[in-house]
C-alpha cells in the first residue's frame, strides 16, 4: 500500500514537475561567467563527440569552427562565398581546375606557418580518411601546391570547389605534423588536442560535464585582437530549456542556442536580453511513396498534398518554422522556386474519387515519423484530422530513426515518410542527389522516385553550379517544379527557424545558418 501511495505521489509530482520543466537552476553562480571577457554558450547536448577535424561531423562544429578554419566561408545572407584562409580563387572555364591563393600570415596553434603544402596535406588526409563528410571532395582528383601560397585542385568532373571548401564539415585546414615525429596523429587528436589556425585554442575539456569545454584566445591569430573581444569561450551543457533561459536572465551565461517558441516570445520582451531569429537550411519533407501502394497513383499524392495545411502547421508551430517555397531553403542557390501549397479538401476529395476511393472503398495510408519530435507530431495530428474529413484513415507510427529508416528501405514500405534534410555544405545539390535521384537500392530516396528526366537534370547541377550560376538557378527551379508539383513526390512542410537569445551587451552577432549553431566568437565584442 505504502509503496503504491508513494509511487502515486512521486509520479504525480514528476508529471507536474516535468511539466514545469525543472524550475531549478543547477550549479553555483560563482562558477558561471566570472569575467566579462568570457563568452558562455549554452547548449542542450554534449559538445564534442569527435576531435579529429577530418572526421568531425556532429555537435562539435560549435567549437571546431572557432578553433579551425577552412579555405573559404559561406555567407547565407548574401549567398556568396567569402575569403577565409584563401584570399582569392579562380576556376578554369570548364570548372575542373581551381586555383586558390592562401594568406601568408597564418600560423597553426602548433607554431608551424600555414602554406600550401600544409593545406594540401590536411585535405589529402581528410580525403584519405574518408570519414564524416569527406565525400564532399569526391570530385577532387589531385591537389597540388606549386608554391607557398598557391593551392590547385584538379577535378575529375566540374564542381564548385569554392563552395565545397566552405563546408561546415571536412573542410578544416590543420597541421598534420602536430603529433611530432613518429607520433600518431589519430590518437593525438583523440586525446582532445587540436592543431587549427582559428582564433581560439582548447584550454580545458571535461567530457560529460556541465562545464564541458573552455577555449582561450590564440594570441598570434592572423585576424588580430582588439579591446572588447571575448578572450575565453565556455561551452556549458544544460539540457532543460527553461533552466538555460533562467541562466541567461540571471546574467550567468551569454548565449542560449535553442529556445522553444513560447520562451522565445518571452525573451523578445525582456530588456536585458537580445534575440535573433533566422531561417535555417533545414526543412521537413513528407516523402510520398511513388513506387508502390495507393500513392503510386499521382492523384492520391496530389490529394494528400491538397489535404496538407502547411500554413496551418506553420502557424501552430508558433515561430519555430516558416513556410517553405520549394525544396531549397532561402540562403542557397536554387531557392525561391515559388512552390507553395494551399489546403483544398474539396479538390482533394475529388481527386480521390477519380482515383477510385470512396465510402465503399475507403483509403488507408501509413505514415512514419520521428518519435519524440513534437513538431512532427503536430503536423501528423493536423494531417490525420484533415484526411479523416475526406474519408481517409491515416495510420501514423512514431518510430526511432533506425526503425523508421530500416522499414522504409527493406521492410514494409510506408506511404508517407517524414524526415528532415539539410546540406553538409551550402549547396542545394544535397537534396536532389541524395533524396530524389533514382536508386535501385534506396538510401535516402524514400519517395522511391525514379524519373529519368529528373535524374538527367540532377546530374547537370554540379557543372552548372561551377560554371554558370544563372543556368544552375534555372535548373534548380525546374527540378523543384517537376518533383514537388508535377510528380507530387514530396511536400516540403516547413523550414526550421533558429530562435536564439543572448545577453544584450553582446555586439556583432549574426546567425549564419550555413554553420548550424555556430557562434563565431572572434567576431563579437561587448
Amino acid at each position: 500500500m505504502r509503496r503504491i501511495l508513494t509511487a502515486t505521489g512521486a509520479v504525480a509530482a514528476l508529471v507536474l514537475l516535468a511539466a514545469c520543466g525543472g524550475g531549478q537552476v543547477r550549479g553555483d553562480a560563482s562558477a558561471g561567467s566570472s569575467s566579462d571577457d568570457t563568452f558562455t554558450y549554452v547548449t542542450n547536448t554534449e559538445i564534442v563527440t569527435e576531435w579529429d577535424p577530418a572526421l568531425s561531423y556532429s555537435n562539435e562544429i560549435r567549437s571546431m569552427e572557432n578553433v579551425y578554419e577552412s579555405l573559404t566561408s559561406y555567407d547565407s545572407a548574401t549567398e556568396t562565398v567569402e575569403p577565409r584562409l584563401a584570399t582569392e580563387w579562380t576556376s578554369s572555364e570548364d570548372g575542373t581546375t581551381w586555383t586558390f591563393t592562401l594568406r601568408d600570415d597564418v600560423t597553426f596553434h602548433t607554431g608551424r606557418p600555414l602554406d600550401a603544402t600544409a593545406a594540401k596535406e590536411a585535405l589529402d588526409r581528410t580525403i584519405e580518411k574518408a570519414g564524416g563528410a569527406a565525400y564532399i571532395w569526391d570530385a577532387v582528383d589531385s591537389i597540388e601546391a606549386p608554391d607557398a601560397t598557391t593551392l590547385v585542385f584538379h577535378l575529375s568532373y566540374a564542381a564548385p570547389i569554392d563552395l565545397i571548401a566552405s563546408s561546415a564539415y571536412a573542410a578544416y585546414i590543420y597541421d598534420v605534423d602536430a603529433a611530432g615525429d613518429g607520433g600518431d596523429l589519430d590518437s593525438w587528436f583523440a586525446e582532445g588536442q587540436e592543431a587549427g589556425t582559428g582564433p581560439y585554442t582548447v584550454a580545458e575539456w571535461n567530457s560529460g560535464q556541465e562545464y564541458e569545454l573552455t577555449l582561450s584566445a590564440y594570441d598570434d591569430y592572423w585576424g588580430g585582437w582588439a579591446d572588447g573581444q571575448y578572450t575565453t569561450v565556455e561551452y556549458r551543457v544544460t539540457p532543460q530549456t527553461t533552466t538555460a533561459w533562467q541562466l541567461l536572465q540571471n546574467g550567468e551565461v551569454d548565449f542560449v542556442e535553442t529556445l522553444n517558441p513560447e520562451i522565445f516570445t518571452q525573451a523578445e520582451s525582456t530588456d536585458a536580453v537580445a534575440t535573433s531569429e533566422t531561417s535555417s537550411l533545414q526543412n521537413l519533407l513528407a516523402l510520398y511513396n511513388t513506387a508502390d501502394g495507393p500513392m503510386a497513383d499521382v492523384r492520391v499524392r496530389q490529394a494528400v498534398q491538397l489535404a496538407t495545411d502547411t500554413a496551418g502547421v506553420v502557424e501552430a508551430l508558433n515561430g519555430a518554422a516558416v513556410e517553405a517555397e520549394g525544396l531549397v531553403p532561402d540562403g542557397l542557390l536554387g531557392s525561391g522556386a515559388g512552390v507553395t501549397h494551399t489546403q483544398d479538401l474539396d479538390q482533394a476529395a475529388a481527386l480521390l474519387a477519380e482515383a477510385g476511393y470512396d465510402a465503399s472503398n475507403p483509403l488507408t495510408l501509413t505514415l512514419t515519423y520521428a518519435q519524440g519530435d513534437d513538431n512532427q507530431q503536430l503536423y501528423v495530428t493536423l494531417l490525420t484530422s484533415a484526411l479523416a474529413e475526406i474519408g481517409v484513415t491515416l495510420d501514423a507510427q512514431p518510430l526511432q530513426w533506425n526503425a523508421q529508416w530500416d522499414q522504409a528501405r527493406t521492410g514494409d514500405r510506408q506511404d508517407v515518410f517524414v524526415m528532415y534534410w539539410y546540406p553538409d555544405y551550402a549547396d542545394a545539390y544535397s537534396w536532389f542527389v541524395n533524396v530524389f535521384r533514382s536508386s535501385d537500392d534506396p538510401y535516402f530516396n524514400l519517395s522511391y522516385l525514379a524519373d529519368p528526366e529528373v535524374d538527367a537534370l540532377i546530374d547537370q547541377l554540379p557543372t552548372l553550379t561551377a560554371t554558370d550560376t544563372d543556368a544552375a538557378q534555372a535548373a534548380y527551379v525546374e527540378l523543384q517544379q517537376r518533383i514537388e508539383v508535377q510528380d507530387a513526390a514530396v511536400t516540403t512542410l516547413w523550414t526550421d527557424t533558429y530562435q536564439r537569445a543572448f545577453a544584450a551587451d553582446v555586439q556583432g552577432y549574426t546567425d549564419n545558418p550555413a554553420y548550424p549553431n555556430v557562434v563565431f566568437v572572434h567576431e563579437l565584442s561587448h
Partner: protein, 299 residues
C-alpha cells in the same frame, strides 16, 4: 502489487454475496476517504462512459483540429482551454478517461485471468508444476514493473494495444503468486480432503472451494492495482511508447504540453490533474476495500 503473498491467504470462506456487499458498504462507509474516492471514481467512470454526450466538443476528443483556436486560455467556451491545434481540453480529458480506464480494465482482466489460472493450478497441483510456474513468475517479478513494460513497449510499435500488452505482461505474476498462496492454503483443508475422498473431480474442487477463496485477495489487489496501471500507462505514453496522436490519452497530453508549461500551463496541467486524481482515488478505494475484505487488516 504491494501485498506480500504471506500476508494474505484468508483460508476461510467469505460470507455470502449479500452479506459481503453489506459489509463492504459498512466498512467503506466508515472510511470517509475511501467513500469519497468511490464517489469520485463513479463520476469518472460515468464521465468516461458518457464522454461523447457530455463533452462540449466531442469531435475534439478524437480526430478534429481547429488550428485557428489554438492555445486559448481556460474560459467560458473552453473550460480547460485548448491545446496547440485548438482542441478543447475538457473534451480531451473526458475522452482520455475512456482511454485510461479502458487500458486499466483490459490490463487487469488479462492479468487476473492469466495470473489466477496459473496461480490456482500451481497452488492446487503442487509439486513440479508449482515449481515451474512459480519460478517463471519469479523471473518476471525480478524486474521492476515499469522497466519491463518500458522494454516491451519499446520493441513493439507504440499504440494503446501495445500499452495493454506491455503492462499486462508485467502485472499477471502478482496475481499468480497471490492465488497460488491461497490455493496452497486451501488444498490441505479438511473439507477439501473430504471432497477429494468423496471422489469429487479436482476441477470441481477448484471451482467450488479454491477459486472462491482466491476471490477476496484478488479483488483487493485489483482495486489497488488500478491506480498503478493508470500511472504506468500514462508514463509509457509520456515517454512516447504508449498511445499515439490523435488518441486522447492523459500521459501523451502532459508530454505534449510540457514545453508550454511556463506560458500555457493548462495544456499539461489538466490532464496531469486527471492522472493524479484518478490514481489517488483508486489507491484510497483499494485501501478501504482491503480493510473491508481482508480479515487480518480489519480491526
Amino acid at each position: 502489487m504491494s501485498i506480500h503473498p504471506d500476508t494474505v491467504a484468508p483460508a476461510t470462506r467469505l460470507p455470502g454475496g449479500g452479506a459481503l456487499a453489506r459489509r463492504l458498504v459498512r466498512v467503506v462507509g466508515r472510511d470517509t476517504l475511501a467513500a469519497a474516492s468511490a464517489v469520485v471514481l463513479v463520476v469518472i467512470v460515468l464521465a468516461a462512459l458518457f464522454a461523447p454526450w457530455i463533452a462540449p466538443f466531442p469531435a475534439d476528443g478524437t480526430l478534429a483540429t481547429h488550428p485557428a483556436d489554438r492555445l486559448s486560455a481556460p474560459g467560458a467556451e473552453h473550460w480547460f482551454g485548448t491545446d496547440q491545434v485548438g482542441r478543447d481540453l475538457l473534451s480531451r480529458v473526458l475522452y482520455g478517461a475512456r482511454t485510461s480506464l479502458g487500458i486499466a480494465a483490459a490490463v487487469l482482466v488479462i492479468s487476473a485471468l492469466v495470473g489466477v489460472t496459473l496461480g490456482v493450478v500451481a497452488g492446487f497441483a503442487g509439486g513440479w508444476v508449482r515449481d515451474v510456474i512459480m519460478r517463471v513468475t519469479d523471473v518476471f517479478l525480478a524486474f521492476p514493473a515499469l522497466l519491463l513494460s518500458l522494454a516491451l513497449a519499446s520493441i513493439l510499435r507504440p499504440s494503446v494495444q501495445t500499452t495493454i500488452i506491455a503492462i499486462a505482461a508485467t502485472w499477471w505474476p502478482w496475481y499468480a503468486r497471490l492465488s497460488a498462496a491461497v490455493a496452497a492454503g486451501v488444498r490441505t483443508r479438511p473439507y477439501v480432503d473430504a471432497a477429494r475422498c468423496l471422489g469429487v473431480h479436482p476441477i470441481r474442487i477448484v471451482g467450488r472451494h479454491v477459486l472462491p477463496n482466491s476471490l477476496t485477495p484478488v479483488l483487493v489487489q485489483l482495486s489497488l492495482d488500478a491506480g498503478g496501471v493508470i500511472l504506468t500507462a500514462a508514463s509509457l505514453s509520456y515517454l512516447g511508447l504508449g498511445a499515439t496522436e490523435p488518441t486522447s490519452e492523459w500521459g501523451l497530453m502532459v508530454q505534449s504540453g510540457q514545453s508550454l508549461f511556463t506560458t500555457h500551463w493548462w495544456v499539461a496541467a489538466f490532464p496531469g490533474l486527471a492522472i493524479l486524481v484518478t490514481a489517488f482515488c483508486f489507491n484510497m478505494l483499494g485501501e478501504g476495500l482491503r480493510d473491508a475484505l481482508d480479515p487480518r487488516s480489519a480491526s
